[in-house]
């Protein structure tokens, strides 16, 4: 495929692998934020192409993984109503809540449906006026414009039976939270290319300056990742800390301006709890008051939900790059994609699932 195959070229990958080895002079730690990039790294064996001095740690950029347990439990409560059609992207269905998951709710006879776009949920609402249709709006800045558009579209069509359970999260406050943790070893970031496609990368510049840390906006093909790593290593070796854009074919500095305007119209930023990490100030979107009739948390009485996290799961430390999945005692034994204890083992972007699929040999013995 044009503009894809070229970025999977083994020769170019080998070239960057050699350049990185030639450039690095001491141990370095780089974090890729996005779960999509984590999967590319595992799938193409990129870690095996890197020098020993370089450690790549995996970040919290998996929307399903960081959606707080309270929100999953709220989804389960809302979905367990006879007059509700609960819609969601597929990978949320198997994420464990305190007791159950959405798939179990569906198995118990409630109407839970997978959709591929939030606009599908709006259409379902238009076709089922006697039901309340709820869409589980999770995701980073990449997905937020589509979810905002669904709300705008529902309003335009005068739908009174559509709402979203909104659990949006934002990358820059998460980077700040990771860097504020004294235990962090991260020296450079690969920023998520598709988040920056929407938002641009201007908001990363003050972060890079404040924490004196290189940030490279990076794409998702294997050569993109290797080139992004090379650019980050070169900055570290040259003692520079800037925001660079490896993914120039898709990302501009300003991002997608109409999409950003839409976000401003529909959402405002709020403090948001991240599963396993805790509350990060101003790190989430919530619907503005002018759209509150579409806010499922207001439509349904789900304010007080008691939560119960698995004591074995170390997802919080994994998502902050403090531990790798293979350091978890439950990895691959008590916790598998078939029977996940934590969300990172479920999602197609989850780091534990990536290790399970591509690096099972690193499983802890016993």
């Amino acid at each position: 495929m044009k503009f894809v195959d070229e970025f999977r070229s083994p020769k170019a990958a080998q070239g960057y692998s050699r350049l990185i080895k030639k450039t690095i002079t001491k141990p370095r730690v780089i974090m890729e934020i996005c779960g999509g990039q984590t999967h590319t790294i595992m799938k193409y064996g990129i870690e095996e192409m890197l020098p020993e001095e370089l450690t790549v740690v995996h970040g919290p950029g998996c929307p399903v993984c960081v959606t707080p347990l309270e929100m999953i439990d709220k989804a389960l409560t809302i979905a367990s109503h006879d007059d509700v059609i609960f819609t969601s992207f597929g990978d949320m269905l198997r994420v464990p809540g305190s007791k159950d998951d959405l798939l179990s709710v569906k198995a118990n006879g409630y109407d839970v449906r997978i959709v591929f776009s939030p606009l599908d949920a709006v259409n379902i609402a238009a076709m089922n006026k006697d039901k309340k249709v709820v869409f589980f709006a999770v995701g980073f800045e990449t997905t937020a414009p589509a979810n905002a558009m669904a709300v705008v579209e529902a309003k335009r069509r005068g739908l009174k039976n559509f709402s979203i359970l909104c659990s949006h999260v934002l990358v820059p406050p998460a980077i700040e939270a990771l860097l504020s943790n004294r235990r962090t070893k991260i020296q450079a970031f690969l920023a998520a290319g598709h988040v920056c496609t929407v938002m641009g990368y201007e908001e990363y510049i003050p972060l890079s300056e404040k924490y004196k840390i290189p940030i490279v906006v990076t794409g998702f093909e294997p050569v993109d990742i290797l080139q992004g790593i090379y650019m980050a290593v070169r900055q570290l070796e040259e003692k520079r800390y800037e925001v660079e854009n490896q993914y120039g074919r898709v990302v501009s500095k300003q991002g997608n301006i109409p999409a950003k305007e839409l976000l401003k119209t529909v959402f405002h930023t709020v403090d948001r709890k991240w599963r396993g990490i805790g509350t990060i100030p101003q790190s989430g979107f919530r619907l503005k008051d002018s759209y509150s009739e579409f806010d499922a948390e207001k439509v349904f009485d789900v304010a007080d939900v008691e939560v119960n996290e698995s004591p074995l799961c170390i997802a919080g430390e994994v998502l902050q790059g403090l531990k790798k999945p293979s350091e978890c005692s439950a990895f691959g034994s008590l916790c598998t994609p078939e029977h996940p204890l934590g969300a990172p083992m479920v999602s197609s972007e989850g780091v534990c699932a990536a290790y399970f699929h591509y690096k099972k040999h690193e499983r802890v013995a016993g």
Partner: protein, 38 residues
């Protein structure tokens, strides 16, 4: 275009893509040359 959950997020910039691909080709040539000298 780059599509995500039913929406076009961005158009791929052809000029920028071609210039990166050219750089990758040069990188591939360098790998070939260094193999020949090994």
């Amino acid at each position: 275009v780059l599509v995500h959950v039913g929406f076009a997020l961005s158009k791929v910039d052809e000029k920028e893509a071609l210039s990166t691909i050219e750089m990758l080709r040069e990188m591939g040539d360098l790998v070939d040359e260094s193999k020949e000298t090994e």
